[in-house]
Symmetry: C2
Subunit: 278 residues, 2 copies
C-alpha cells in the first residue's frame, strides 16, 4: 500500500470507529489490485456530522463516503439525490459526488444480506421474516427483503415509531407483502435478523427470546465485532442455520466498489485478502 499525493480517499464516517471492518477489507484489496484509494476511518459524532460530511466533499480527492452508525438515517437530509433503495429504507450507507457537484446517496447493506442468505440456500421468497431493530441497517435489510416477495414481514424496534414508519414505507412500495409491527417474538418465522447493536458489547442482553426460535428458522446477524455472537451461538445450539455479520459485509462490498466507480471483485477474493483477524 503506497499512499501518495494522488491517493483518493473514501471517508468511513461513524461513531465509535473501533469496530470498523471496512478498512480491513477495502484497503488490502486496493493494495493487492493496485488501486490508489484508501478507506479512512473518521470518528464523527452525531452533532458534528452535518458539518463534517459537506466539508469532506469539498476535497477533490475525496471520492466518496461510507456512512455507518449513528449517521445512516441523518445523512439523508444532507444529500441532493437518493436512490429508491435509500428512499424506502430511509437509510443511506454510501455517498458520492456527481460530476455536477451534487451528492448522491445509495445503500447496499440490504442487498449484501440477501445475497448472503441466498448463497446459503435460503430464498426469502414466500417466507415469513422478522427484522428486529429498525435503525439504518434494519431498514436496509427489510427493504431488500421486501423486494424478494416474502409472504409476510414483521418489524420491531424499541422506538415503535421507527418500526411503524418503515412498515408504512414498505407497504406503499410492496402492497402485496403483509407487514406487521409490535412484536419481536421469533416463533413461527422462517427468517429472523438481529439489526440492533446488541451483541457488540460483552454482556449485552440477547436482542430477542431465543427460547422461542424454531430449529428451522434461519437467523441472521449484523453485528460485526465478533463472528459468532451470543445470539448466533444460541441459535446454532437450537439447530438454526445462521449468517454472521461479516458474510453480509463481504457480499455487499462489490456493489459499493461499483458505486464508487472503482474496479470490483468477488466476495471470496475480498475475504481472502482481508485482515479482519490480524
Amino acid at each position: 500500500m503506497r499512499i501518495d499525493g494522488d491517493t483518493e480517499v473514501i471517508a468511513h464516517l461513524g461513531y465509535p470507529t473501533h469496530s470498523f471492518k471496512a478498512p480491513l477489507i477495502y484497503n488490502p484489496y486496493f493494495a493487492a489490485a493496485g488501486i490508489n484509494a484508501l478507506v479512512v476511518p473518521m470518528a464523527c459524532r452525531t452533532e458534528d456530522f452535518a458539518t463534517v460530511l459537506p466539508a469532506l466533499f469539498r476535497m477533490d480527492n475525496v471520492r466518496g463516503a461510507l456512512v455507518t452508525m449513528p449517521h445512516k438515517v441523518s445523512v439523508l437530509r444532507l444529500l441532493d439525490a437518493t436512490t429508491p433503495a435509500v428512499q424506502i429504507a430511509g437509510a443511506c450507507n454510501a455517498v458520492k459526488r456527481l460530476p455536477d457537484g451534487t451528492l448522491l446517496g445509495d445503500q447496499f447493506d440490504g442487498e449484501g444480506f440477501v445475497r448472503g442468505v441466498r448463497g446459503k440456500g435460503f430464498d426469502p421468497r414466500g417466507k415469513r421474516a422478522l427484522v428486529v431493530g429498525c435503525g439504518g441497517v434494519g431498514c436496509a435489510i427489510a427493504t431488500s427483503l421486501a423486494a424478494t416477495q416474502p409472504a409476510a414481514m414483521a418489524l420491531h424496534d424499541l422506538r415503535a415509531d421507527m418500526a411503524d414508519g418503515l412498515a408504512r414505507r414498505l407497504q406503499q412500495h410492496y402492497p402485496q407483502v403483509e407487514v406487521t409491527t409490535g412484536s419481536k417474538d421469533p416463533a413461527g418465522f422462517d427468517l429472523v435478523v438481529n439489526c440492533t447493536p446488541l451483541g457488540m458489547q460483552a454482556g449485552d442482553p440477547l436482542p430477542f427470546d431465543v427460547e422461542r426460535l424454531g430449529a428451522g428458522t434461519f437467523v441472521g446477524e449484523v453485528v460485526l465485532s465478533q463472528a459468532m455472537t451470543p445470539l448466533l451461538q444460541a441459535a446454532q445450539a437450537r439447530g438454526c442455520r445462521v449468517q454472521v455479520g461479516t458474510d453480509m459485509l463481504f457480499e455487499m462490498i462489490p456493489a459499493y466498489l461499483e458505486f464508487f466507480g472503482l474496479p470490483a471483485t468477488t466476495p471470496a477474493r475480498l475475504r481472502e485478502l482481508a485482515t479482519l483477524d490480524a
Copy 2:
C-alpha cells in the same frame, strides 16, 4: 500498514496534492514502527480551507494536520494559539488539538532547513543570507535563519509587501540582524535559498539570476518535486554547494512527530524507509 478502526489520522492539507511527499515518508515509518497512524492527503482549495480545517478537527481520531501551500499563512486565523516561531514567520505548517479542544499551530520547516545546512558543514552564524520568496516556507526559513544570528539577511518577493512585512517582524525580534528587502541579486551572499514554487513545473524560469552566484555561495532549495532542480543544477555547475528540498524535509520530520505526540526517529531512518522514488 494496517488501517483499522483505531487508526489515527494526520490530515495533509494543500492544493494541489500531486507532489506531496509527506505521505511517502511518514506512512512507511508508521508501518515499520508499528504506529497506528496515517498521513492522508486532502486536496483542499483556498476557498474551502476555513470550512475544512475546523470540520476535520471535530473528528476524534484526527490527531493533527500538516498544512502546506496554499494554506500556510491563511491557517493562522483559524487557530486558538500559535508558537513564537509561527508568530514571527507568520506561517504555520502543523496543527494539533490540545486537551481542552483548542487548536495550536507550530512550524518546523525553517528548523528542518537550518538543521540540514548545518549537517552539511554550513553554519549561518555571522553569514549573509538571501531568501527569495516570502510565502509560508520563505517566512519559516527566514525566521529560523534569523535565530542563528547571521550578519545580514535580504528578503525578496514579487509581492513586495510580503517581504517588507516579514522584514519588520524579524527586526522586532532580532534587532541585531540587518534585514533588507527589494533585491533578489544573489551576488555577495553566503547563503541563497529559493523559497518560491519556481522549479515545480517543467519550463519554470529560474527564481533568480544564477549568473550572479559566487562559487562560494551555499544554495538551498525548497521545491520537492525533483531533487536536482534546474536552479540547483545551475548552482552546482558554478561550484556552489547545494541542499535539495528533501534534505530539509527529512530533517524537519522528527520535530513534527514530536509535536504530534508520536514516537520519533532519525532523518536517516526516515530516508531509508521512505518510498519517494517508488
